[in-house]
């Protein structure tokens, strides 16, 4: 039997790794991968805790998590594809057309 703390530490590492990917990478597809790693960190925590408490809630949570996040990422992927189609880029730092407008213009 693996103690709960071991699984929790691995899961926390996975979650931070995903967050690191999101913060460091500029490619949109890698950011989506980072998100997926974060979701998996959460899923691992849920399964380990379900084992520890001996009830099914953790597994139910994991099933819901997988389905719902897959749906979310599908829409996000469509948006990335649209960006490639219309803006010719899949890099987050190229998406910088929206900015503050503090220019008062001619009085």
């Amino acid at each position: 039997m693996i103690p709960l703390s071991h699984s929790l530490i691995i899961a926390a590492l996975l979650f931070s790794l995903g967050l690191l990917i999101i913060l460091v990478r500029r490619e949109l597809l890698f950011i989506l991968m980072g998100l997926e790693v974060m979701f998996n960190g959460a899923a691992l925590t849920a399964i380990a805790a379900g084992q520890y408490w001996k009830n099914a809630d953790g597994q139910i949570l994991t099933i819901f998590l997988t389905v719902v996040t897959a749906a979310e990422l599908a829409i996000a992927l469509i948006l990335v594809w649209l960006a490639f189609e219309h803006l010719n880029t899949t890099r987050a730092d190229k998406l910088n057309l929206l900015k503050d407008n503090i220019d008062r213009g001619p009085p």
């Binding site: 709960l4 929790l8 899961a11 979650f15 995903g18 967050l19 999101i22 949109l28 950011i31 989506l32 998100l35 974060m38 979701f39 960190g41 959460a42 899923a43 925590t45 849920a46 380990a48 805790a49 379900g50 520890y52 408490w53 009830n55 809630d57 953790g58 139910i60 949570l61 819901f64 998590l65 719902v68 996040t69 749906a71 979310e72 990422l73 829409i75 996000a76 948006l79 990335v80 649209l82 960006a83 189609e85 219309h86 803006l87 987050a92 998406l95 057309l97 929206l98 900015k99 503050d100 407008n101 503090i102 220019d103 008062r104 213009g105």
Partner: protein, 467 residues
Amino acid sequence: MQAIDLINLGPFIILGFGGITVLGLGILPAHVSTRTLAAVTIIILILGTVATTLWKVPHEIDGMLVFDRLSRLFVQLCMLGAIVITILSLYYPTTQKEMREEYLSLILFTTLGMALFISSQNLVMAFVGLEILSVPLFALIAWLPKQQHAIEGGIKYAMLAGIAAAFFLYGTTLAYVNSGSLNIAALGQSLSDGHLPAIAVTLLLVGMGFKLALVPFHMWSPDIYQAAPAPVTALFASTVKAAVLIFLIRLLCLNLQPVWEALLPLLWILAVISMFAGNLLALLQQNIKRLLAYSSIAHIGYIFVALAAGNSLGRDAAIYYSLAYALMNLGAFAVVAALALTGKDRQTLEDYRGLGRQYPILGISMAISLLALAGLPPTAGFVAKLLAFGSAVEAGHFILAIIAVINTAIAFYYYLHILVIFFAEEKEKTGQIIAPLPKGTLVSVIVINSFIIGLGIFPELITTGFP
């Protein structure tokens, strides 16, 4: 499952099936006009509102959904908001041609998500509600990919929603590690001593902070406000945020009081930085949608002033403020949507010069909404600020109350600046014929503003009787 459960689930069933019905109307062999589709959508939303009045309160279904006066009030608010958004989109020149059954069904589904999120008593239910609410929104933001910036805004919202969902989920699982249950009432009863509950709730708070555009999670929120079509901006600037706030209040203030008390210093800091960042960034802003985005960041700061008080007064103030906040932003963005040009919104403040004189009803509505946001009596915005700052004083947070009042004073400058431009003389008489505004838009704008004033005069309708 008993009959009473079914009656209480009525609004959710109506919204879910209604969304599918509207989608189904699109595949009929005969062409269904956009007006008919919008009428069906509005009828479904009205039916949903009527169904909430049949609720037996208080009632709970299997520790999943809770039905009380709080959830009833805010589910009704979300339905009202969705009706207004449907009417606005119908007359909004840019989406008019593109608005078909998918657009309307997405509005219904996002309303369903809000209703679920508001009344959830279980963290998994809340997560599902949060996702049902946010996934349609990024499709709606990027609805017209040819439109300038639309895709950029959609992607930014999708990324933010993804990160928010990840934090929310990790918080959920850590709460489950702590107590072995996902029911938030059970969580409150089995709080262990360690730091785990506080860490879990902080992660949930971060997840919701991305949705609320709380500083330091606000980076992309003005971009998204600017990129989305104005009716969609009105949707996620008002009722979506109110829904998230209500779940936050239900979690922290109604079920996890010990954790709430432990997190008070954090809430204090978040309130201060949100108020200052929002107001200072809004000060020189020339783009009206971005300006309103920054002002709503500041308003979230005021709500956190109430939450940082940590007493029942603060809780009631936050509930009242959430309602007032949703109505005020809905009013302001409704005017922006009503004044849009074909193909794009009027973006800079200069584009609005003199419009208050040309369209007196919209001008007065904008004035009421903005003065409510600034916090002048007799509007709901004044009472909301009074209650929020009063609760901070009651809790002994004098410094916080003073900072909040200073921020209100800063905010007056930019709200009045908009109004001055709105009612200024036009530069030159263009002599163009003023197109009459559609009646539906006018009626919805007038209804929102009468709510803003009505709640300002009779605040006790909302503030009394919560648990």
